[in-house]
């Protein structure tokens, strides 16, 4: 078990990535009770936005210098698509039965994938994403990829920033009020339409950051990458208690750790040697989800529902 620190590091990094994407699911769900199944594609589009920005720059530009522009471009693309989706696909269905926006979200997800496949140059196959030069960084007990440094910095900064925003700012408090009782929030003078757009935009910006982290980690982007990443992030959001932003991050970390542990150690359990390794990690992730839903349906940090006296 002397590779345990390495597995923990792998799991936490993967979990931070899931958590960043999960924020988008959980914020939107918390405010409009919609599972935005197109969020995985909003993540994917951020990756292509970052790649586009990198390709605009002259050859040989250092990745570190290019990174700010890539972040801006990724966020711009993701946020624009998310706001467009909210305005034109979801808002007209705000008072429709809940199945209607859900199906719209699935349709939008497929449409966005296919749009990238069809219109982004050479996107029918994976496009290489820039990577930092040099090998893995040896930190003693474990090593991490150079690209993971971005995630290691970005994920805590994003989460602390979001925590501060939601609990301390005027808009953040309006966001909490809108998620707890939208009609009454309007009576306070809160423009709830604007709050909903803000929730979509923040989720998309976080997804864009995650997309860059994903690209740097795996060295490529492709039009399908939002599907499995989105599904995992959605799982993380449910695991942590959907609607709760801290839950999304905790759920992400738990899921990432579970995958890493399952990949590394399950094959050592007598009689389960065929069920370990990377090929089974998605299975174990969803087994964990099923267990949590059976034992604690509201998720790890799910809201207590004893509110109204």
């Amino acid at each position: 078990m002397n590779d345990l620190p390495q597995q923990l590091a792998n799991g936490l990094l993967l979990g931070a990535l899931y958590g960043l994407i999960a924020i988008g699911y959980t914020m939107v769900y918390g405010i409009v009770q919609l599972i935005n199944f197109a969020h995985g594609e909003i993540f994917m589009i951020g990756g292509f936005g970052a790649l586009t920005a990198y390709l605009w720059l002259p050859d040989g530009t250092s990745l570190l210098l290019a990174l700010p522009l890539m972040i801006l471009m990724a966020m711009a693309c993701s946020v624009l698509v998310a706001m467009g989706a909210e305005r034109f696909a979801y808002r007209p269905l705000r008072n429709a039965p809940r199945l209607a926006p859900l199906i719209t979200a699935i349709g939008l997800s497929i449409a966005l994938q296919q749009a990238i496949w069809a219109f982004y140059p050479d996107a029918t196959k994976s496009r290489p994403f820039p990577e930092f030069d040099g090998g893995r960084l040896d930190l003693g007990a474990f090593a991490i990829g150079r690209g993971d440094l971005f995630l290691l910095i970005a994920a805590p900064v994003c989460m602390i920033g979001l925590g501060f925003f939601v609990s301390k700012t005027r808009t953040g408090r309006a966001m909490q009020a809108t998620s707890q009782d939208p009609d009454t929030a309007k009576l306070m003078g809160i423009n709830t339409d604007r709050i909903i757009v803000t929730a979509f935009a923040i989720g998309a910006a976080f997804a864009a950051i995650a997309a860059i982290a994903h690209g740097l980690k795996y060295g490529e982007v492709n039009f399908k990458m939002g599907f499995i990443a989105g599904l995992k992030a959605f799982t993380a959001a449910v695991l942590g208690g959907i609607g709760n932003i801290y839950g999304a991050m905790i759920g992400g970390l738990v899921l990432g750790l579970a995958e890493a542990m399952a990949t590394a150690y399950i094959e050592n359990i007598p009689g389960m040697s065929q069920l370990g390794g990377g090929a089974w990690k998605d299975v174990w992730a969803f087994v964990l989800l099923i267990l949590v839903l059976l034992l604690r349906p509201q998720g790890l940090l799910g809201q207590r529902v004893a509110d109204r006296a």
Binding site: Q176, A177, Q180, M188
Partner: protein
Amino acid sequence: MTALLEVEDLKVAYGKIEAVKGISFSVEAGQIVTLIGTNGAGKTTTLRTLSGLLKPAGGRITFDGKPLGGIGAHKIVALGLAHSPEGRRIFPRLTIAENLQLGAFLRKDSDGIAQDIQRSYDLFPILGERRKQAAGTLSGGEQQMLAMGRALMSRPKLLMLDEPSMGLSPIMMQKIMATISELKSQGTTILLVEQNAQAALSLADHGHVMEVGKIVLSGSGQDLLHDESVRKAYLGED
């Protein structure tokens, strides 16, 4: 003198079902006006339309000289019309202090807001004692106090209270009614919707009795309190 609130032939419908079928009444500055009637008479629907949560199907609403038709709810508060909704509807997972601050969401004068929060604590000392506590942990009566305090935080020209006595113990109800008359003596104009006709009429300058979407009887609070049909229908006397 024109009234602060003028409602003319207001109609409100849920789909094809008309819940309010053309009512007219007015509220003068400094008055308490009450709408009484049984469940389903259209009282709450009327208030929700005045505050912009529902769209009128017809008629005219004039508040402080301005027409209100078609203005979004979040803009109506800014004009000086505050609504403390039925069922209190405090934000359960925010603290009492945060709930009060949200009542002043559109105000920019932080000194004035701090003063008004203090005034709420003076009016309802229990809120001050528990200011850091999640509002969902308060009792029903305390939540009602918070809902009223929160509505006052916008410094409204007109305060609309929907069923402030609902579900409260008799003692708590007396306390709430005493507060309403105290607010009146401080010059607050109030539109009060109540099922407890006795309590509402004894406080009100004017009262209107609603039945299935219409105003069937109007008069001063005292007149209605002594009106035989009102006593029979709403005050539980044979």
